[in-house]
Amino acid sequence: MAGKRYIVAIGLNHKTAPVEVRERLAFSSEDTPKVLEAMGQDACVDEIALFSTCNRVEFLLATKEAPKAVEAVKDFMAEFKNTPRHTFEQALYVYHGDEAVRHIFRVAASLDSMVVGEPQILGQIKESYLHACDYRTCGVVLNRLMHRSFSVAKRVRTETGIGDHAVSISYAAVELGRKIFGELEGKAVLLLGAGEMAELAVEHLANNRAQPIFVANRTFERGLELAERFRGTAIRFEEVRDYLRQVDIVISSTGAPGYILVRDDFKGLMRARRNRPLFFIDIAVPRDIDPEINRINNVYVYDIDDLKTAIQENIDERQQEALRGERIVDAAVIQFRRWFQSLDVVPTVIALRDKMEEIRQKELKKTFGSLSAASEEDRAAIDRLTAALVNKILHGPTVFLKQSAHKDEKSLYVDMTRRLFSLDEPGEPEPEPQG
């Protein structure tokens, strides 16, 4: 099985394909075994792994015939998904060699994700790798590549802040709450009004053990409903001001046309609260809470724009951290290349020896044929002589190829050796140059 192997990545993601295309080509977990089995049998595919999420489909191959393998995958996708090739071919990207390695590293490290730094992708890749292991479609190359991608992902996560800090409104609210109160446990929450984002925020707070939870709604029944959902208490809208004495976090999302709480509502309130901090999260548009209230000591008012700004900073921060992640990936790609190239050396050396041995045997046969008078001893001597010659001649090139000093040019020398001795051409027939 000597022969140069190539790593190829073929796929599409949220950047290259619209959702209609992605959903059409996504492979479910039931599809995966069929795909692996079918593609694993393809002659030009040595090793294969597949992973498919809602944002991407990726085929990873090790092959000796890259162009053929790429065609095979494309054909397979068209056939398996019953979709003409032209409908998705433009969305596909094909990476070879280092670029393929870099791509898989970036995907695993969540540098290529829609939300950069989201942690799920690594788990998904690990799962698909396990599938590929189950079906034995991964060999030396992909095994190594996948394991490297896991460790690169881990390094990026621990050595950069890529996964830190909230990038959604409700998480940002929780994060801010923590910066004010330390622990959210036992902090009373009041929900004013209703709405998806507000309810999500309450849910996050409740998950962080904030309680009790009060719900005030213009329609008391709706309030009761919500209160039941959060295992809280429904209060009447008119009671809100009284409850401001005991709650710590207020999430407001009513459809009121003007402010429902103004600065005057806070006269004496802070004293009654013994100055305990009060945190308003005003998600409503138009706003419910007079921003002036933010000027009161120990009261903090964040409206939707403030929260968005906070998130934007976190997103920017992640981009910064992603740059550091790219550097880790770059280094890992180079490291992998070295390993991959050294993988070529041994088969090349073996191929070279095989070739020489083949020539030697052929020539010996010819010689012995014309030397019928030679004794057994003479034949043995000639055999030894030729073997020694081949060994001596090959010693230099072998050492040279194996030397680690040529790490970066290794593939160049391997390639040159293969061409000089035409190792990639079928052994027979060997035209002997005349004259």
Partner: protein, 262 residues
Amino acid sequence: MSLLFASTIACYIASSLGYQGYILFQKRPIYRVANILLWVGFLCHTVVVGLQYFETGHVPVRNLHETLSSFGWAVVGVFLILQVKYHLMVLGALVAPLATLSVVIASMLPRPPVELAPFVKSLWRTLHVGTLIVGNAAFAIACFAGILYLIQEKAIKEKRPGFFFRRLPSLKLLDSMGYASLIVGFPMLTFGVITGVVYAQMVRGRFWTWDPKEILAGITWLVFAALLHERLAVGWQGRRAAIMTIVGFVILLLTFVLFFVG
């Protein structure tokens, strides 16, 4: 300079750098190393201070050199004790440099042999000076917690989360740390003032002389008494409490300077 004192300084300097590094890079191992270094430095320092005490029979505050060194020791000690409960890691980034500064300055100061009159060698003096040193250290930490509180509060109020927002702990923790330091410091200060008054009576025959430094010491005590009262009675917390703590500490520093200059 003794070898122990030199190692104290070295540990404090390294620890300070470590704490700054922790703030910058947010890596826990750096914090752990800084913390261990601070402990090692503190142990060396304890031996130094202890030796001075047993050799002379005085709390080592006979000259500015000893006072600064003892103050640095107390700051680190109070910090390490409070740290057990509050785990306010970033505070080390202020405490360690302060301790470093006091021991470094102490190491550069001359150490004139002090001949103290025999009456100075009294239990009252020991108590007076010892409690004040610890009290001052606690207020220094309260002041630092207050400064950090103000920085963090500004970030949250003005909705500009930045470098510090991420790195500083919650307002609640900073406020609690300030409160705890006040609770440690105030009784010490009170006791220090009372013993001082008694000691003054013994030495000078008068309890109170209306000397500027005595007046300033009285004001310091009143400021912290008012702060503690407000905290206890109406639950004062946050910004105002932080500002008042810082003001109190500044007056305390002035008093301290006056005692040595005047």
